[in-house]
């Protein structure tokens, strides 16, 4: 049925939040083993496309979300920070895996003991590696956070 001039009323607040959650484009930041699970989450069986976020952007300028998948070494840390700085606001960070959350089992000279030393992290996904389901749960939690949290970032 064709109904002309449909009007939907909402608050701008809600509309903004909704649009932010529904097309959240991640930047490819695969570092180590967790990156493989991130790719598995993006491929056929788990299919991140359901959340409007299968487009892993190669350029940080076009991305809203950085999934830090894997261990961050001291040599990589400046690069990671630079990529984060290049992303346009508003931006979110998910620390995927034990290594990027806390350093994991490698408590030594080479690793940054948790990416929260260099970038602000919104969601920590535990596991070594976290399965695609865990990653998705993390992403959905982030969606909830955006829907209920501060609108100004």
């Amino acid at each position: 049925m064709y109904t002309p001039d449909n009007i939907l009323t909402t608050t701008i607040d809600k509309a903004v939040r909704w649009s932010r959650t529904q097309s959240m484009w991640p930047v490819t930041f695969g570092l180590a083993c967790c990156a493989i699970e991130m790719m598995a989450a993006g491929s056929a069986k788990y299919d991140l496309a359901r959340y409007g976020m299968e487009v892993f952007r190669a350029s940080p300028r076009q991305a809203d979300l950085m999934i830090v998948a894997g261990r961050v070494s001291q040599k990589m840390a400046p690069v990671l920070r630079q990529v984060y700085d290049q992303m346009a606001d508003p931006k979110w960070v998910i620390a995927m895996g034990a290594c990027s959350s806390t350093g994991g089992m490698f408590n030594n000279y080479a690793l940054v003991q948790g990416v929260d030393h260099i970038v602000p992290v919104d969601i920590y996904v535990p596991g070594c590696p976290p399965g695609p389901q865990s990653l998705m749960h993390g992403i959905l939690t982030l969606h909830d956070k955006i829907m209920d949290g501060e609108i100004n970032r």
């Binding site: 083993c33 598995a40 346009a88």
Partner: protein, 454 residues
């Protein structure tokens, strides 16, 4: 007044390309000095390495190009098609790559140092995270080296389970290599297919070991757990489905003119260059030399299995892609034999000093409790000495060198990752070809950066 501050806030917010960012000021020094000032021209030997003419001089120098057409570009470390955090610096002449220098270390985890702090029983937890596409091989090589140092032999069933699991792992690793290789060249459906079939194997791994990756399943003295009930059915399903799907890949790509045109005669690696740069594994076999440690220096009872070693002579990217498909077929053969002749018996060595007792025994026997406590707190002691063991991982010779000083922790643990060595051949296959082929060349070598940097 109020309005003003607000405006300023906005200005700050949208000026992020001018200022670094509001958090800015992070010290980026270690990226822009040192290894970045590469491609120095003083050293003739260095240039030879970077142009890949160290072994065979096939470099065509075009004297006419002016200096304006030369430029140095940086690729990575955060680049979608460098397979992780590999960084390349290349000198381009127009469209053609002239010199390349791979820069690594962006995933250096200090695992060799951590390996000295963990005892032999915990060791596989550490090594399994090195080459994350073939974790079981890393565990196997560590366990074999430890067993060689102690001088024990694991039971037949453990050996057979090891072979079964590692060959399945080889399949899953090659599937990822095919998938990401396809993705880099633009065959996106290959990416979806490869990961879909891999799930099948990962499901079996999850059932057996509890994890999809980084299993810590193969340990010194055997394997951590027996195969789950009904494992035969799962293997049979894998044996049925994977060949069908491989047929799909062949239908899609083998006679595909675009695929062929893109890959054939690109990035040629000769046998001589392979030897010089220490390239092993599928890349060596694709250059026409039949060398497989499973045949030449068999480990873990693989000499009792019948399979062939596929060899191709072209040495180009296409051959390196094709050989992986052929190797999956051979691995399937091994898996099938392992399924049919799985011996009965224990899956761990029956040595109280090395194997922790089963949980049930702890409630009954004091002695078992003591052994359990000892193994989990102190670990078992390994006699003094050193050993180097090599096995054939999906990427080549994976070696482990352990020095023991008689305590329960390795004095020095070093892993020879095949990708580390194979990466040195990158200048050879990348130079003198258009920049568009560079991605195909990297993908064909199939480096896993976790294995390179450790």
């Amino acid at each position: 007044m109020k309005k003003d501050t607000r405006k300023n806030k906005f200005k700050d917010k949208f000026d992020f390309w001018a200022t670094n960012s509001e958090e800015g000021g992070w010290n980026i020094s270690s990226t822009d000095e040192g290894s970045q000032k590469m491609l120095e021209e003083e050293n003739a030997k260095q240039i030879k390495i970077q142009t890949g003419t160290d072994v065979i001089d096939d470099f065509v120098i075009d004297e006419d190009t002016s200096d304006d057409e030369r430029m140095i570009v940086n690729m990575g470390p955060q680049h979608p098609s460098t397979h992780g955090v590999l960084r390349l610096q290349a000198e381009l002449e127009g469209e053609v790559v002239r010199r390349v220098k791979p820069i690594i270390g962006y995933l250096h985890t200090g695992m060799e140092k951590t390996g000295e702090e963990l005892n032999y029983f915990q060791g596989p937890t550490n090594t399994t995270r090195m080459d994350y596409l073939s974790p079981l091989f890393n565990e196997l090589v560590f366990s074999l080296t430890t067993e060689k140092l102690i001088g024990i032999e694991v039971p037949d069933r453990a050996k057979n389970i090891r072979i079964l699991m590692t060959e399945l792992n080889r399949i899953s690793s090659h599937l990822v290599a095919l998938a990401t290789g396809g993705m880099d060249i633009g065959a996106l459906s290959m990416m979806i297919f490869g990961f879909r079939e891999r799930e099948l194997i990962l499901n079996f791994f999850e059932k057996t070991t509890g994890l999809r990756m980084n299993h810590n399943y193969i340990r010194p003295g055997g394997v951590a757990a027996d195969l789950p009930d009904g494992w035969q059915k799962d293997i049979e399903e894998i044996l049925k489905i994977i060949p069908e799907k491989l047929q799909d890949y062949d239908d899609m790509l083998l006679d595909n003119p675009i695929w062929k045109g893109r890959l054939q005669n690109v990035g040629i690696l000769t046998t001589k260059e392979c030897f010089a740069y220490g390239v092993t594994g599928p890349s060596l076999r694709a250059s026409g030399h039949s060398w497989d440690l499973r045949k030449a220096q068999p480990y873990s009872g693989i000499e009792n299995f019948e399979f062939e070693v596929p060899v191709l002579n072209e040495g180009d990217v296409f051959a390196r892609w094709r050989i992986k498909v052929l190797e999956i077929f051979e691995s399937l053969k091994i898996v099938e034999q392992a399924l049919n002749k799985m011996p009965k018996g224990p899956y761990k060595i029956q040595d109280k000093k090395i194997t922790p007792p089963p949980r049930k025994r702890l409630d009954e026997s004091m002695e078992a409790l003591i052994h359990h406590f000892k193994i989990y707190t102190e670990g078992f002691k390994v006699p003094e000495g050193d050993a180097y063991v090599a096995i054939e991982s999906p990427r080549g010779e994976l070696g482990c060198y352990i020095v023991s000083d008689g305590s329960s922790k390795p004095y020095r643990m070093h892993v020879r990752g095949p990708s580390f060595c194979n990466l040195q051949a990158l200048p050879v296959i990348m130079t003198d070809s258009p920049i568009a082929d560079a991605v195909a060349a990297i993908a064909s070598l199939d480096p896993v950066i976790g294995d390179v940097d450790r």
